[in-house]
């Protein structure tokens, strides 16, 4: 492989967030005219690093150089002016505006600064879409009418419209169909030939092997491997992602599991465009058992949990707690039956940020302190304080707003709220997301302790090491279906990876077969 010019470098990059160290002394080289693949588990620092490159965040310490000149972007516009474009995992489009309007948003081509030159914008848009092999999209269509895959293409077109020299794609394929992935890869190859430096972030390892020229592996904010892609296989990536030395996972004391405490049968959730987001999923968990559900983003795992909690009125299927069918349709009713959810998105679903720590902890179990309609505030504060002590939540005062806590402590507040309802089954959606290693280890110890007390836990994770070390049994989900069930003692990471991405395209399957031991 001929050497590629290095366009952008980061040296000794450090990024500190309140409570966590997101990047520790990372070095990163971005090769022009090549695909620079970036992999790592959730929270490893991939997105943080790319946000720094794209000017969304700034480095706390360290230097960044662009073509040999030191740069420091304080906002996205500066990075864009320097030719750096980023396509985020969450799309930033205006669904009510047309394709052309979206592509030129913020830098509309005008006559005299007032009148938008629609014809010009349309023509340019058409040219861009042709280059991206999507000339079937009319520039006048509202973006909201397009499929997710097409919207992704519009995002890429938006970046290209600004003469981008460096293009960052954060998980671009998570919402794409196989055919769209193939088109995207062709587009990437064209861009490469034009000399554009591409950063490609993905969890789908086979995809990386297929498209990448250089690879950088991140783990817990540090670079654990950086080299050219030649001779690299999935096994090597997994090894570097996970590392030899394991995190501190509490080991299972061999325990007898009790009877089945929760069972879901034939759960379905129709997708608006046809098909199923949750496709006939059945699973059961026993007392004292931790069931890990592994899968990639968009596999339907969180939606399954939402069905269990009664969040989707259209969801079909049957649920049983301790063998008795769950007839309640409301969230409160399901909580009453002993189901409790720890949502993936703390800010959005788990906490009422404006309320105090005490009020958040007790929100689901106010009945316990209420006679007729009178609430005993002293009893409430005592109960909240008890959980604060039990889960050793670090707080200055119970009355401070919950938003003042670090991620790990916020998570503990959410867990306290769930535990206070005295659940029989705990559903945890990515319980370790956005919290630092110390807090993670503590969270895992808490989970073990709870199962020892007779709870059944179902937890979702995209972290291979986590699911293998922590679960008693592992289910793998992909495309809304359960694609594998494994015993945690004997499963290998390759088996899990294989089950989590059942060949969307043939090429990928071939690679998998080659690399599987």
């Amino acid at each position: 492989m001929e050497p590629h010019e290095i366009g952008l470098t980061i040296r000794k990059g450090v990024k500190v967030y309140p409570g966590t160290l997101a990047l520790k002394n990372v070095d990163f080289d971005l090769h022009m005219g090549a695909v620079n693949v970036l992999v790592g588990e959730n929270g490893a620092g991939k997105s943080t690093m790319m946000k720094i490159v794209a000017g969304v965040e700034t480095l706390t310490l360290g230097e960044m150089e662009l073509f040999g000149h030191p740069v420091r972007f304080t906002n996205k516009n500066q990075a864009e002016a320097a030719g750096i474009g980023i396509v985020f995992q969450e799309l930033n489009l205006f669904p009510n505006l047309s394709v052309a309007e979206n592509i030129f948003i913020g830098r509309e081509r005008t006559r005299g600064g007032i009148d938008i030159d629609r014809a010009y914008q349309r023509d340019e848009t058409r040219k861009l879409l042709k280059r991206l092999e999507h000339d079937d999209i009319d520039p006048g269509t509202p973006v909201g009418d397009l499929r997710i895959g097409q919207q992704q293409i519009i995002e890429i077109a938006k970046s290209l419209a600004q003469n981008t020299r460096i293009l960052i794609l954060d998980e671009p394929t998570s919402a794409l169909s196989a055919a769209e992935v193939d088109i995207l890869f062709r587009v990437i190859r064209d861009l490469k030939a034009d000399g554009v430096g591409i950063v490609y972030i993905s969890h789908r390892l086979e995809e990386l092997v297929r498209i990448g020229d250089y690879i950088t592996v991140l783990r817990d904010g540090a670079v654990t491997g950086a080299r050219s892609m030649e001779g690299i296989d999935v096994a090597w990536i997994v090894r570097n992602m996970i590392g030899g030395a394991s995190k501190d996972f509490p080991k299972t004391d061999v325990l007898e599991f009790g009877p089945e405490v929760f069972r879901a049968e034939d759960v379905t959730l129709p997708r608006p465009g046809g098909g199923y987001t949750v496709d006939h999923v059945s699973m059961g968990v026993r007392r004292g058992e931790i069931l890990g559900v592994y899968g990639l983003m968009g596999a339907g795992r969180s939606e399954f949990f939402e069905c269990v909690m009664g969040q989707h009125p259209h969801c079909g299927g049957r649920f049983f707690v301790e063998g008795k069918p769950v007839k309640e349709r409301t969230v409160a009713g399901r909580i009453g039956r002993g189901l409790a959810l720890i949502p993936e998105n703390r800010k959005q679903d788990g906490l009422i940020e404006i309320l105090s720590i005490r009020e958040n902890i007790t929100l689901s179990s106010l009945k316990d302190f209420t006679r007729f309609f009178h609430m005993n505030l002293a009893a409430e504060a005592r109960a909240a304080a008890e959980y604060v002590r039990e889960l050793s939540i670090k707080i200055a005062s119970l009355e401070n707003p919950v938003s003042s806590l670090s991620g790990g402590n916020q998570q503990k507040v959410v867990v306290s709220k769930a535990l206070m309802t005295r659940p029989k089954v705990l559903l945890m959606d990515e319980p370790s997301r956005g919290i630092d290693i110390g807090a993670k280890a503590e969270m895992f110890r808490t989970m073990r302790k709870l199962t020892a007390e007779g709870l059944g836990i179902v937890f979702i994770t995209s972290d291979l090491e986590e699911v293998m070390a922590l679960s008693d049994r592992i289910l793998v989900m992909a495309d809304g279906r359960i694609t594998g069930e494994f015993d945690a003692g004997t499963v290998t990471s390759e088996q899990l990876v294989a089950a989590s991405s059942p060949g969307k395209s043939k090429a990928r399957k071939d690679i998998l077969e080659e690399t599987a031991p």
């Binding site: 450090v14 160290l21 404006i354 009020e359 929100l363 689901s364 209420t370």
Partner: protein, 354 residues
């Protein structure tokens, strides 16, 4: 882990004092306004004036209490002014005409029965607001704006735009005591002030010591999060609009009783004064934050300000301008308080992590 430790500024004393001052700002404003007029206006402190002023304030305060709950859930109720008008008309109609139940019979009601019916009407309109907002997903602004027109139109239709005069009632029906709602006193204090005290205390109790109150704050703070925690969001929302309608019905009764007449245009723009009082009292329009006590103090600031300016002989036009400026200033100070408060709390938390 602390390779890049950040030095934390330690400034607690002055910050805490400033925060306390900011928190009590509506109260301080009340004292200042009060002191100013006590000094500037003769007779301002006389007992008679105090009672007249509290009567003025009570009307707005009652509406503002209902409005506060609605705003805390993140909604808005624009229909209260019209409900005041409509409920006044209902009361007037019942006194003058009774209720025709067909077959040539007419039912007549005593004062208490009329009060109950009118309260039911107000609460029922609130229920419709709540159902529109929760079950049919109409934005609160739109739903209650529509109700504003519907209720006002109905009030006008009920009398063809005329006033129902002379609501003196008939001793035979037991409704000749209707005037007492607005004019009667108990232990030397007007009945309507007692009503404010009862409603205000109950509302404050509900807000602080009942699950419903907690749920109201939770829904306003994060609706999704509240729903996932088992809060029945729809029921909470319906309840607050019903309570707001109930408060408006009380005001409708009081006004028609005070005037011994009901006019369909009564209560025009009252909703805006109620919103102003709530905001002045520290209720956040984005929901999740607000106190009943703050709202009542806010209503007093607005009421004393306008009455005092009248007594000073300031023109009505200037009064309007001044009222507007006070509201804007209140919100600006509120923002400053939020920032300072967040900083103080973060410092406490940071000190803990040392």
């Amino acid at each position: 882990m602390n390779s890049a430790s950040v030095t934390k500024p330690k400034e607690s004393g002055s910050g805490a004092l400033l925060l306390l001052l900011l928190k009590a700002r509506t109260f301080i404003a009340l004292i200042l306004v009060f002191a100013f007029f006590a000094f500037a206006v003769p007779n301002f402190l006389s007992g008679a004036n105090m009672i007249i002023m509290s009567k003025h304030v009570a009307l707005n305060a009652l509406l503002a209490i209902g409005m506060t709950f609605v705003i805390i859930t993140g909604g808005i109720d624009l229909s209260v002014g019209s409900i005041v008008g409509l409920c006044g008309m209902v009361a007037g109609w019942l006194i003058l005409n009774g209720m025709d139940i067909g077959l040539g019979w007419t039912m007549q009601f005593s004062t208490i029965e009329i009060m109950l019916i009118v309260m039911f009407v107000g609460t029922f309109i609130g229920l419709i607001n709540g159902l529109l907002i929760t079950k049919l997903n109409v934005a609160p602004f739109i739903a209650t704006l529509g109700m504003l027109y519907v209720a006002r139109g109905t009030a006008l239709l009920s009398s063809d735009g005329q006033t129902f005069p002379n609501l003196n009632g008939n001793p035979d029906y037991g409704n000749n005591t209707f005037y007492l709602i607005g004019a009667g006193t108990l232990l030397g204090v007007p009945i309507m002030i007692w009503m404010l005290v009862v409603v205000g205390c109950s509302a404050a109790y509900v807000a602080n010591r009942t699950p419903l109150g907690r749920h109201i704050y939770a829904v306003g703070g994060n609706e999704r999060g509240a729903a996932l925690s088992g809060v029945k969001v729809d029921r909470v929302k319906i309840a607050v609009y019903m309570f707001s309608g109930f408060c408006a019905a009380l005001v409708g009764l009081i006004i028609s009783s005070q005037l011994v007449a009901s006019h369909p245009a009564t209560g025009n723009m009252f909703e805006l004064n109620a919103i102003a009082a709530a905001v002045l009292g520290g209720t956040s329009m984005s929901g999740g934050r607000g106190k009943i006590a703050g709202t009542i103090i806010g209503a007093f600031v607005i009421g004393i300000l306008s009455d005092g300016l009248v007594m000073m002989g300031v023109s009505a036009f200037w009064q309007t301008v001044i009222k507007g400026l006070v509201i804007i200033a209140a919100v600006v100070v509120d923002q400053a308080q939020q920032k300072l408060q967040a900083r103080v709390v973060l410092q406490q938390q940071a000190a803990l992590n040392d």
